[in-house]
């Protein structure tokens, strides 16, 4: 029952979105063949009781992935942005 602000389409119903992944993950570089680094990318998670960054997809909308800063305790959504956006930077100041 959430309403999520797609950075492109605006506020839309949760049913248009699909949860995709942890929002903080950066895939190890292609040249990186460390099992540990890949292991951390695939398995290591730090789920929060509180505010965390998630990656969602506007799957029944524009199809874009988006970052969602969500409070897992209250379901409040504090910020959203494109995958490469820094959510700590206020929306209007992002390039």
């Amino acid at each position: 029952m959430l309403h999520i602000a797609c950075p492109w389409c605006g506020l839309r119903a949760q049913s248009e979105f699909t949860y995709a992944n942890d929002g903080t993950l950066i895939r190890p570089d292609l040249s990186n063949d460390s099992i540990d680094d890949h292991y951390n990318y695939v398995y290591a998670r730090d789920p929060r009781r509180g505010i965390q960054d998630e990656m969602w997809r506007h799957s029944a909308g524009c199809g874009q992935f988006l970052k969602v800063r969500r409070d897992t305790l209250t379901h409040e959504i504090h910020a959203t942005g494109a995958p490469q956006d820094d959510l700590d930077v206020p929306k209007d100041d992002r390039s």
């Binding site: 605006g10 839309r12 199809g63």
Partner: protein
């Protein structure tokens, strides 16, 4: 030798003309839009592509969600950043013509992968609101607006042509399910199929 050039609607066998549902003036008219062509255009170079398409096909590709633009013989719907659905007239080598114009872009002729249903009439917004989570109030979704969303669990693109007239585009394989939904949802208002 058999004639191979014989195309069939995805709604063959379920599409019957006439008046259905509640008695009285029909709330809407439902029809399938066949005969047009649909292109999916995707680019990483939005500015260059927009310039090229404007020159070649006379349409200013919209850059904001929910916007449409109409050109000489085509209509462009924003479907994502650098991504459009183009409605135009069918032509041989249509895909090639657009791909040649929009360099460094990906063009797919998706005419056969989608179906377009038209819903028109005073109850159109009420019927769509039975399955679509968008705000379809005329102030929020006016003539000329478009959006991708859901209708009864099916992904759709909705194109508002007039105050009470919409084209609904969905995947071809979903045609019968969406048609069942549309006719089911329209029954309480009464509907005509044309």
């Amino acid at each position: 030798m058999v004639d191979l050039n014989l195309s069939r609607s995805a709604l063959d066998g379920v599409f019957t003309q006439g008046a259905f549902g509640a008695a009285g003036d029909p709330g809407v008219t439902l029809s399938e839009r066949r005969g047009g062509a649909l292109l999916d255009l995707s680019t990483g170079d939005i500015d260059a592509t927009r310039r090229a398409i404007a020159t070649q096909f006379g349409v200013d590709l919209p850059t904001k969600s929910g916007r449409t633009a109409t050109g000489d013989a085509c209509r462009a719907l924003w479907t994502g950043p650098g991504h459009w659905l183009i409605k135009t007239a069918p032509k041989p080598n249509l895909e090639r013509a657009w791909a040649d114009a929009a360099r460094n872009s990906a063009v797919n002729d998706v005419t056969h992968g989608r179906i377009v249903l038209r819903i028109k009439g005073p109850s159109a917004r009420d019927i769509l609101a039975k399955g679509c989570p968008l705000d379809l109030h005329p102030t929020a979704f006016p003539t000329g607006a478009c959006a991708q969303s859901l209708i009864g669990k099916i992904n759709v693109t909705i194109d508002c042509l007039d105050a009470d007239e919409f084209d609904i585009t969905t995947g071809r394989a979903y045609a019968k399910s969406l048609w069942a939904w549309m006719t089911g949802a329209a029954a309480e208002y009464g509907y005509r199929v044309e």
